[in-house]
Protein backbone atom coordinates (compact mmCIF):
# COMPACT_ATOMS: atom_id res chain seq x y z
CA UNK A 1 0.00 0.00 0.00
CA UNK A 2 1.18 3.50 -0.79
CA UNK A 3 1.13 6.33 1.71
CA UNK A 4 -0.88 9.47 1.20
CA UNK A 5 2.28 11.35 0.22
CA UNK A 6 3.25 8.67 -2.27
CA UNK A 7 -0.22 8.75 -3.80
CA UNK A 8 0.02 12.50 -4.26
CA UNK A 9 3.35 12.18 -6.07
CA UNK A 10 2.01 9.44 -8.34
CA UNK A 11 -1.09 11.41 -9.23
CA UNK A 12 0.90 14.57 -9.94
CA UNK A 13 3.30 12.58 -12.10
CA UNK A 14 0.50 11.19 -14.25
CA UNK A 15 -1.29 14.52 -14.45
CA UNK A 16 1.88 16.26 -15.59
CA UNK A 17 3.03 13.63 -18.06
CA UNK A 18 0.26 14.10 -20.61
CA UNK A 19 2.23 14.12 -23.83
CA UNK A 20 5.74 12.64 -23.64
CA UNK A 21 5.27 10.67 -20.47
CA UNK A 22 8.21 12.57 -19.01
CA UNK A 23 8.25 14.98 -16.08
CA UNK A 24 11.08 17.04 -14.60
CA UNK A 25 11.88 17.07 -10.92
CA UNK A 26 11.44 20.81 -11.03
CA UNK A 27 7.94 20.70 -12.54
CA UNK A 28 6.83 18.11 -10.02
CA UNK A 29 8.33 20.16 -7.23
CA UNK A 30 6.39 23.22 -8.32
CA UNK A 31 3.12 21.35 -8.82
CA UNK A 32 3.24 19.76 -5.39
CA UNK A 33 4.75 22.82 -3.71
CA UNK A 34 7.40 20.58 -2.24
CA UNK A 35 11.10 21.45 -2.45
CA UNK A 36 13.27 19.65 -5.00
CA UNK A 37 15.44 17.70 -2.58
CA UNK A 38 12.33 16.19 -1.06
CA UNK A 39 11.08 15.25 -4.50
CA UNK A 40 14.41 13.64 -5.38
CA UNK A 41 14.34 11.52 -2.28
CA UNK A 42 10.74 10.48 -2.88
CA UNK A 43 11.62 9.52 -6.46
CA UNK A 44 14.28 7.17 -5.11
CA UNK A 45 11.66 5.63 -2.88
CA UNK A 46 9.13 5.23 -5.67
CA UNK A 47 11.87 3.84 -7.86
CA UNK A 48 12.66 1.22 -5.21
CA UNK A 49 8.95 0.36 -5.25
CA UNK A 50 9.09 0.01 -9.06
CA UNK A 51 6.60 2.80 -9.57
CA UNK A 52 8.93 5.29 -11.26
CA UNK A 53 11.94 4.97 -13.58
CA UNK A 54 14.52 7.19 -11.95
CA UNK A 55 18.08 8.03 -13.04
CA UNK A 56 20.05 11.01 -11.79
CA UNK A 57 19.60 14.12 -13.90
CA UNK A 58 17.16 12.34 -16.23
CA UNK A 59 13.45 13.13 -16.60
CA UNK A 60 11.06 11.07 -14.51
CA UNK A 61 8.85 8.39 -16.04
CA UNK A 62 6.14 6.34 -14.38
CA UNK A 63 6.49 2.58 -14.80
CA UNK A 64 3.47 0.64 -16.04
CA UNK A 65 2.74 -0.26 -12.43
CA UNK A 66 3.11 3.39 -11.45
CA UNK A 67 0.77 4.51 -14.22
CA UNK A 68 -1.84 2.03 -13.15
CA UNK A 69 -1.74 3.09 -9.52
CA UNK A 70 -1.78 6.76 -10.45
CA UNK A 71 -4.74 6.21 -12.76
CA UNK A 72 -6.59 4.44 -9.97
CA UNK A 73 -6.25 7.53 -7.81
CA UNK A 74 -7.37 9.85 -10.59
CA UNK A 75 -10.29 7.50 -11.21
CA UNK A 76 -11.33 7.85 -7.58
CA UNK A 77 -10.94 11.61 -7.75
CA UNK A 78 -13.09 12.02 -10.84
CA UNK A 79 -15.76 9.54 -9.78
CA UNK A 80 -16.00 11.47 -6.54
CA UNK A 81 -16.36 14.80 -8.33
CA UNK A 82 -19.12 13.33 -10.44
CA UNK A 83 -20.86 11.92 -7.39
CA UNK A 84 -20.66 15.21 -5.53
CA UNK A 85 -22.20 17.08 -8.45
CA UNK A 86 -24.76 14.54 -9.64
CA UNK A 87 -25.86 12.92 -6.41
CA UNK A 88 -25.18 15.48 -3.75
CA UNK A 89 -25.97 18.71 -5.51
CA UNK A 90 -22.62 20.48 -5.33
CA UNK A 91 -21.53 22.94 -7.99
CA UNK A 92 -18.60 22.02 -10.24
CA UNK A 93 -16.58 24.77 -8.57
CA UNK A 94 -17.00 23.20 -5.12
CA UNK A 95 -15.88 19.65 -5.66
CA UNK A 96 -12.15 19.71 -6.25
CA UNK A 97 -10.97 20.11 -2.67
CA UNK A 98 -13.34 17.47 -1.34
CA UNK A 99 -12.38 14.98 -4.05
CA UNK A 100 -8.73 15.70 -3.31
CA UNK A 101 -9.30 14.14 0.09
CA UNK A 102 -11.75 11.38 -0.79
CA UNK A 103 -9.49 10.05 -3.56
CA UNK A 104 -7.33 8.54 -0.81
CA UNK A 105 -10.10 6.46 0.74
CA UNK A 106 -9.23 2.77 0.63
CA UNK A 107 -12.44 0.98 -0.23
CA UNK A 108 -13.06 -0.54 -3.65
CA UNK A 109 -16.70 -1.14 -2.65
CA UNK A 110 -17.24 2.54 -1.95
CA UNK A 111 -16.07 3.65 -5.37
CA UNK A 112 -17.76 0.73 -7.11
CA UNK A 113 -21.03 1.86 -5.55
CA UNK A 114 -20.51 5.45 -6.66
CA UNK A 115 -19.75 4.22 -10.16
CA UNK A 116 -22.91 2.12 -10.22
CA UNK A 117 -25.14 4.86 -8.78
CA UNK A 118 -23.78 7.23 -11.42
CA UNK A 119 -24.40 4.74 -14.24
CA UNK A 120 -20.70 4.17 -15.03
CA UNK A 121 -19.86 7.65 -16.26
CA UNK A 122 -17.00 8.23 -18.71
CA UNK A 123 -16.39 11.91 -17.97
CA UNK A 124 -16.17 13.99 -14.81
CA UNK A 125 -18.03 17.29 -14.29
CA UNK A 126 -15.16 19.21 -15.89
CA UNK A 127 -15.13 17.06 -19.02
CA UNK A 128 -12.03 15.06 -18.07
CA UNK A 129 -12.14 11.32 -18.80
CA UNK A 130 -12.55 8.96 -15.84
CA UNK A 131 -9.92 6.21 -16.15
CA UNK A 132 -11.46 2.74 -16.33
CA UNK A 133 -10.65 0.01 -13.79
CA UNK A 134 -7.57 -0.99 -15.80
CA UNK A 135 -6.20 2.54 -15.71
CA UNK A 136 -7.07 3.27 -19.33
CA UNK A 137 -7.98 6.90 -19.94
CA UNK A 138 -8.58 8.46 -23.36
CA UNK A 139 -9.01 12.14 -24.04
CA UNK A 140 -11.35 12.96 -26.91
CA UNK A 141 -9.82 15.16 -29.57
CA UNK A 142 -10.64 18.62 -28.39
CA UNK A 143 -9.31 21.98 -29.55
CA UNK A 144 -8.69 24.95 -27.36
CA UNK A 145 -11.23 27.69 -27.94
CA UNK A 146 -8.26 30.02 -28.36
CA UNK A 147 -7.28 28.11 -31.49
CA UNK A 148 -10.62 28.55 -33.22
CA UNK A 149 -11.45 31.20 -35.80
CA UNK A 150 -14.12 33.85 -36.19
CA UNK A 151 -17.25 32.30 -37.65
CA UNK A 152 -16.69 28.88 -36.07
CA UNK A 153 -19.58 27.31 -34.18
CA UNK A 154 -18.38 25.03 -31.43
CA UNK A 155 -19.52 23.08 -28.39
CA UNK A 156 -17.93 23.65 -25.00
CA UNK A 157 -16.68 20.21 -23.92
CA UNK A 158 -14.17 20.50 -21.10
CA UNK A 159 -12.23 22.93 -18.95
CA UNK A 160 -8.50 22.72 -18.36
CA UNK A 161 -8.24 24.70 -15.16
CA UNK A 162 -10.53 23.48 -12.41
CA UNK A 163 -9.82 26.18 -9.84
CA UNK A 164 -12.88 27.49 -8.05
CA UNK A 165 -12.12 31.04 -9.23
CA UNK A 166 -12.11 30.10 -12.89
CA UNK A 167 -15.24 27.98 -12.59
CA UNK A 168 -17.06 30.72 -10.70
CA UNK A 169 -16.16 33.07 -13.53
CA UNK A 170 -17.68 30.61 -16.01
CA UNK A 171 -20.81 30.34 -13.83
CA UNK A 172 -21.14 34.11 -13.81
CA UNK A 173 -21.24 34.05 -17.63
CA UNK A 174 -23.56 31.02 -17.73
CA UNK A 175 -20.87 29.03 -19.50
CA UNK A 176 -21.35 25.31 -18.90
CA UNK A 177 -20.35 22.09 -20.62
CA UNK A 178 -22.39 21.13 -23.66
CA UNK A 179 -23.12 24.75 -24.49
CA UNK A 180 -22.97 25.71 -28.19
CA UNK A 181 -21.35 29.02 -29.03
CA UNK A 182 -20.50 31.03 -32.11
CA UNK A 183 -17.31 33.03 -32.47
CA UNK A 184 -18.25 36.47 -33.69
CA UNK A 185 -14.79 37.97 -33.86
CA UNK A 186 -11.21 37.71 -32.65
CA UNK A 187 -9.21 40.81 -31.71
CA UNK A 188 -5.93 40.42 -33.56
CA UNK A 189 -3.60 42.13 -31.08
CA UNK A 190 -4.65 40.42 -27.80
CA UNK A 191 -6.61 37.43 -29.13
CA UNK A 192 -9.69 38.38 -27.12
CA UNK A 193 -12.79 36.68 -28.52
CA UNK A 194 -16.33 37.96 -28.84
CA UNK A 195 -18.78 35.07 -28.78
CA UNK A 196 -22.53 34.55 -28.67
CA UNK A 197 -24.52 31.77 -27.00
CA UNK A 198 -27.96 31.31 -25.49
CA UNK A 199 -29.40 34.69 -24.65
CA UNK A 200 -25.99 36.30 -24.56
CA UNK A 201 -25.36 37.71 -27.97
CA UNK A 202 -22.07 39.41 -27.33
CA UNK A 203 -19.75 38.21 -24.58
CA UNK A 204 -16.07 39.02 -24.56
CA UNK A 205 -13.63 36.34 -23.39
CA UNK A 206 -9.95 36.99 -22.73
CA UNK A 207 -7.27 34.84 -24.33
CA UNK A 208 -6.45 33.49 -20.87
CA UNK A 209 -10.00 32.19 -20.57
CA UNK A 210 -10.15 30.86 -24.15
CA UNK A 211 -6.95 28.87 -23.64
CA UNK A 212 -8.59 27.02 -20.76
CA UNK A 213 -11.73 26.00 -22.64
CA UNK A 214 -11.72 22.81 -24.70
CA UNK A 215 -14.24 22.63 -27.52
CA UNK A 216 -15.50 20.42 -30.31
CA UNK A 217 -16.22 21.74 -33.77
CA UNK A 218 -19.91 21.45 -34.56
Amino acid sequence: MNSLAEENYLKALLNLSNDKGEVNVNELSKRLEIKMPTVTSMMKRLSAKKLVHYESYKPLRLTEKGKKEAAAIIRKHRLTEMFLVEKMGFGWEQVHDIAEQIEHIQSPEFFAKMDELLGFPKLDPHGSPIPDKNGKMVWKEYSKLSECKAGDTIKLSAVINTSAEFLKFLNSRELSLGLKLKIKSVEPFDNTMVVSYGKRLSETLSHTVCERLLVEKV
Copy 2:
Protein backbone atom coordinates in the same frame (compact mmCIF):
# COMPACT_ATOMS: atom_id res chain seq x y z
CA MET B 1 -5.92 21.69 13.05
CA ASN B 2 -5.39 18.24 14.52
CA SER B 3 -3.54 15.49 12.73
CA LEU B 4 -5.15 12.21 11.79
CA ALA B 5 -3.43 10.49 14.69
CA GLU B 6 -4.59 13.16 17.12
CA GLU B 7 -8.15 12.82 15.85
CA ASN B 8 -8.06 9.09 16.43
CA TYR B 9 -6.92 9.54 20.01
CA LEU B 10 -9.62 12.13 20.70
CA LYS B 11 -12.34 9.96 19.25
CA ALA B 12 -11.20 6.90 21.19
CA LEU B 13 -11.07 8.96 24.38
CA LEU B 14 -14.65 10.13 23.98
CA ASN B 15 -15.88 6.69 22.96
CA LEU B 16 -14.24 5.10 26.00
CA SER B 17 -15.29 7.71 28.54
CA ASN B 18 -19.01 6.98 28.53
CA ASP B 19 -19.79 6.99 32.23
CA LYS B 20 -17.22 8.70 34.44
CA GLY B 21 -15.50 10.73 31.76
CA GLU B 22 -12.25 9.05 32.75
CA VAL B 23 -10.06 6.74 30.69
CA ASN B 24 -6.86 4.90 31.62
CA VAL B 25 -3.75 5.01 29.49
CA ASN B 26 -3.91 1.25 29.34
CA GLU B 27 -7.48 1.11 28.02
CA LEU B 28 -6.73 3.70 25.40
CA SER B 29 -3.59 1.85 24.42
CA LYS B 30 -5.56 -1.37 23.93
CA ARG B 31 -8.38 0.30 22.03
CA LEU B 32 -6.04 2.00 19.60
CA GLU B 33 -3.61 -0.92 19.46
CA ILE B 34 -0.82 1.52 20.18
CA LYS B 35 1.78 0.87 22.89
CA MET B 36 1.50 2.70 26.19
CA PRO B 37 4.60 4.87 25.90
CA THR B 38 3.30 6.22 22.62
CA VAL B 39 -0.04 6.98 24.24
CA THR B 40 1.66 8.75 27.14
CA SER B 41 3.61 10.99 24.81
CA MET B 42 0.53 11.78 22.75
CA MET B 43 -1.36 12.67 25.95
CA LYS B 44 1.34 15.21 26.74
CA ARG B 45 0.89 16.68 23.31
CA LEU B 46 -2.90 16.83 23.58
CA SER B 47 -2.50 18.32 27.02
CA ALA B 48 -0.27 21.06 25.60
CA LYS B 49 -3.04 21.70 23.05
CA LYS B 50 -5.59 21.95 25.90
CA LEU B 51 -7.56 18.98 24.61
CA VAL B 52 -6.88 16.59 27.50
CA HIS B 53 -6.31 17.00 31.22
CA TYR B 54 -3.18 15.00 31.88
CA GLU B 55 -1.29 14.35 35.09
CA SER B 56 1.18 11.53 35.60
CA TYR B 57 -0.38 8.33 36.89
CA LYS B 58 -3.87 9.89 36.88
CA PRO B 59 -6.76 8.87 34.63
CA LEU B 60 -7.18 10.84 31.40
CA ARG B 61 -10.01 13.33 30.96
CA LEU B 62 -10.96 15.29 27.86
CA THR B 63 -11.24 19.06 28.34
CA GLU B 64 -14.40 20.78 27.12
CA LYS B 65 -12.51 21.74 23.98
CA GLY B 66 -11.33 18.15 23.59
CA LYS B 67 -14.87 16.81 24.03
CA LYS B 68 -16.17 19.16 21.40
CA GLU B 69 -13.54 18.23 18.86
CA ALA B 70 -13.99 14.53 19.58
CA ALA B 71 -17.76 14.83 19.21
CA ALA B 72 -17.28 16.57 15.87
CA ILE B 73 -15.36 13.56 14.60
CA ILE B 74 -17.94 11.11 15.91
CA ARG B 75 -20.62 13.25 14.31
CA LYS B 76 -18.87 12.96 10.95
CA HIS B 77 -18.48 9.21 11.44
CA ARG B 78 -22.13 8.59 12.22
CA LEU B 79 -23.49 10.93 9.57
CA THR B 80 -21.32 9.08 7.09
CA GLU B 81 -22.61 5.69 8.20
CA MET B 82 -26.16 6.93 7.82
CA PHE B 83 -25.41 8.32 4.38
CA LEU B 84 -23.80 5.10 3.23
CA VAL B 85 -26.80 3.06 4.35
CA GLU B 86 -29.62 5.40 3.40
CA LYS B 87 -28.30 7.05 0.25
CA MET B 88 -25.83 4.58 -1.16
CA GLY B 89 -27.42 1.26 -0.34
CA PHE B 90 -24.75 -0.29 1.87
CA GLY B 91 -25.64 -2.74 4.61
CA TRP B 92 -25.11 -1.71 8.24
CA GLU B 93 -22.34 -4.28 8.47
CA GLN B 94 -20.37 -2.66 5.64
CA VAL B 95 -20.15 0.95 6.72
CA HIS B 96 -17.84 1.10 9.71
CA ASP B 97 -14.50 0.86 7.92
CA ILE B 98 -15.47 3.38 5.27
CA ALA B 99 -16.78 5.86 7.84
CA GLU B 100 -13.58 5.38 9.83
CA GLN B 101 -11.76 6.99 6.92
CA ILE B 102 -14.31 9.57 5.82
CA GLU B 103 -14.64 10.96 9.35
CA HIS B 104 -11.28 12.68 8.80
CA ILE B 105 -12.35 14.63 5.71
CA GLN B 106 -12.03 18.36 6.32
CA SER B 107 -15.05 19.93 4.68
CA PRO B 108 -17.94 21.32 6.71
CA GLU B 109 -19.93 21.73 3.47
CA PHE B 110 -19.61 18.04 2.68
CA PHE B 111 -21.05 16.91 6.00
CA ALA B 112 -23.65 19.68 6.04
CA LYS B 113 -24.87 18.39 2.69
CA MET B 114 -25.04 14.82 3.95
CA ASP B 115 -26.98 15.99 6.99
CA GLU B 116 -29.42 17.88 4.80
CA LEU B 117 -29.90 15.07 2.28
CA LEU B 118 -30.59 12.72 5.19
CA GLY B 119 -33.10 15.10 6.76
CA PHE B 120 -31.00 15.86 9.85
CA PRO B 121 -31.01 12.39 11.42
CA LYS B 122 -30.60 11.94 15.17
CA LEU B 123 -29.42 8.32 15.13
CA ASP B 124 -26.96 6.34 13.03
CA PRO B 125 -27.77 2.95 11.46
CA HIS B 126 -26.69 1.16 14.63
CA GLY B 127 -28.92 3.24 16.86
CA SER B 128 -26.14 5.44 18.27
CA PRO B 129 -26.95 9.14 18.64
CA ILE B 130 -25.36 11.54 16.16
CA PRO B 131 -23.83 14.44 18.13
CA ASP B 132 -25.27 17.81 17.12
CA LYS B 133 -23.12 20.65 15.79
CA ASN B 134 -22.31 21.77 19.35
CA GLY B 135 -21.06 18.34 20.30
CA LYS B 136 -24.13 17.46 22.35
CA MET B 137 -25.00 13.77 22.24
CA VAL B 138 -27.68 12.09 24.33
CA TRP B 139 -28.27 8.38 24.62
CA LYS B 140 -31.87 7.35 25.10
CA GLU B 141 -32.46 5.17 28.14
CA TYR B 142 -32.05 1.69 26.79
CA SER B 143 -31.69 -1.62 28.62
CA LYS B 144 -29.57 -4.50 27.53
CA LEU B 145 -31.65 -7.39 26.25
CA SER B 146 -29.65 -9.56 28.64
CA GLU B 147 -31.19 -7.67 31.58
CA CYS B 148 -34.78 -8.35 30.54
CA LYS B 149 -36.98 -11.12 31.90
CA ALA B 150 -39.04 -13.92 30.38
CA GLY B 151 -42.41 -12.57 29.27
CA ASP B 152 -41.11 -9.09 28.42
CA THR B 153 -42.00 -7.65 25.06
CA ILE B 154 -39.36 -5.22 23.81
CA LYS B 155 -38.22 -3.27 20.79
CA LEU B 156 -34.70 -3.65 19.43
CA SER B 157 -33.25 -0.13 19.44
CA ALA B 158 -29.47 -0.19 19.12
CA VAL B 159 -26.45 -2.46 18.94
CA ILE B 160 -23.37 -2.02 21.09
CA ASN B 161 -20.86 -3.91 18.98
CA THR B 162 -20.70 -2.75 15.37
CA SER B 163 -18.26 -5.35 14.06
CA ALA B 164 -19.17 -6.79 10.68
CA GLU B 165 -19.23 -10.30 12.14
CA PHE B 166 -21.79 -9.47 14.79
CA LEU B 167 -23.97 -7.51 12.36
CA LYS B 168 -23.83 -10.32 9.82
CA PHE B 169 -24.98 -12.68 12.53
CA LEU B 170 -27.93 -10.37 13.22
CA ASN B 171 -28.70 -10.22 9.50
CA SER B 172 -28.72 -14.01 9.34
CA ARG B 173 -31.43 -14.06 12.03
CA GLU B 174 -33.35 -11.18 10.44
CA LEU B 175 -32.73 -9.07 13.53
CA SER B 176 -32.88 -5.37 12.69
CA LEU B 177 -33.53 -2.14 14.56
CA GLY B 178 -37.16 -1.38 15.35
CA LEU B 179 -38.05 -5.05 15.51
CA LYS B 180 -40.41 -6.11 18.35
CA LEU B 181 -39.64 -9.31 20.12
CA LYS B 182 -41.03 -11.36 22.98
CA ILE B 183 -38.85 -13.19 25.47
CA LYS B 184 -40.18 -16.69 25.77
CA SER B 185 -37.69 -18.02 28.31
CA VAL B 186 -34.27 -17.52 29.88
CA GLU B 187 -32.02 -20.48 30.63
CA PRO B 188 -30.94 -19.95 34.23
CA PHE B 189 -27.46 -21.48 34.04
CA ASP B 190 -26.06 -19.76 30.92
CA ASN B 191 -28.55 -16.89 30.48
CA THR B 192 -29.35 -17.96 26.94
CA MET B 193 -32.66 -16.47 25.79
CA VAL B 194 -35.37 -17.95 23.62
CA VAL B 195 -37.28 -15.22 21.81
CA SER B 196 -39.94 -14.89 19.14
CA TYR B 197 -40.39 -12.22 16.52
CA GLY B 198 -41.86 -11.91 13.05
CA LYS B 199 -42.10 -15.36 11.52
CA ARG B 200 -39.47 -16.74 13.82
CA LEU B 201 -41.30 -18.19 16.77
CA SER B 202 -38.38 -19.70 18.61
CA GLU B 203 -34.89 -18.29 18.18
CA THR B 204 -32.17 -18.90 20.71
CA LEU B 205 -29.76 -16.06 21.48
CA SER B 206 -26.61 -16.48 23.54
CA HIS B 207 -25.88 -14.23 26.50
CA THR B 208 -22.98 -12.73 24.53
CA VAL B 209 -25.42 -11.63 21.84
CA CYS B 210 -28.06 -10.41 24.32
CA GLU B 211 -25.51 -8.22 26.08
CA ARG B 212 -24.84 -6.39 22.86
CA LEU B 213 -28.45 -5.59 22.04
CA LEU B 214 -30.05 -2.45 23.47
CA VAL B 215 -33.82 -2.48 23.78
CA GLU B 216 -36.78 -0.42 24.89
CA LYS B 217 -39.61 -1.87 26.92
CA VAL B 218 -42.86 -1.82 24.96
